[in-house]
């Protein structure tokens, strides 16, 4: 995104908006991650506690999801930069 044509008052307001959204996005990512990993990892409901196998699966799943998001983010930024460069 290019906010360079914004004046300083607008940039300040935008910064606040972005900070708030980042917090919301983080929280949504968090609960989305938990739901997704829970769905993949937890299939035994004969017990109410996480088995050590389920626990390891949750941790691997969370780690992998974060790395996946990061990698997608990096590629996304590149693609966007490219898309911005050519047409405009």
């Amino acid at each position: 995104m290019d906010f360079s044509q914004f004046n300083s008052a607008e940039q300040a307001q935008m910064t606040k908006v972005i900070e708030k959204k980042q917090m919301q996005d983080f929280l949504r990512m968090y609960s989305n991650l938990v739901e997704r990993c829970f769905t993949s990892c937890c299939n035994d409901f004969t017990s109410k506690a996480l088995s050590s196998k389920e626990e390891q699966c949750m941790i691997n799943c969370a780690d992998k999801f974060l790395k996946h998001s990061e990698r997608v983010g990096a590629r996304f930024a590149e693609q966007n930069a490219e898309a911005m460069g050519s047409p405009k």
């Binding site: 980042q22 917090m23 938990v34 990993c37 409901f45 109410k48 996480l50």
Partner: protein, 98 residues
Amino acid sequence: MSFLGRGSSGASGGVNQERMEMAVQELDMVTDVFNRIVNACHNKCISTRYAEGDLNKGESVCIDRCVSKFFEANKKVGERLQSVGANAGQQGGGGLGF
């Protein structure tokens, strides 16, 4: 609600708008988590045959364990996120850096 460990330092008299916003945000998150548990545990525990409208014994027990397990799983992930990057919150979860 303990998904977050936010402390809120108060003001006295009048409406502290920032504090209200944080409370609303927390409310939204609790609702979001609740809805995800409803969804996840429905998928895990409820048969989609719908031969009757009551929860049977097996479904009821499954729900109780499922909610419990979800909380544990949620806690594990929360701990993991904190240890992976103590400042993941500010970075938007390794996602888009605007």
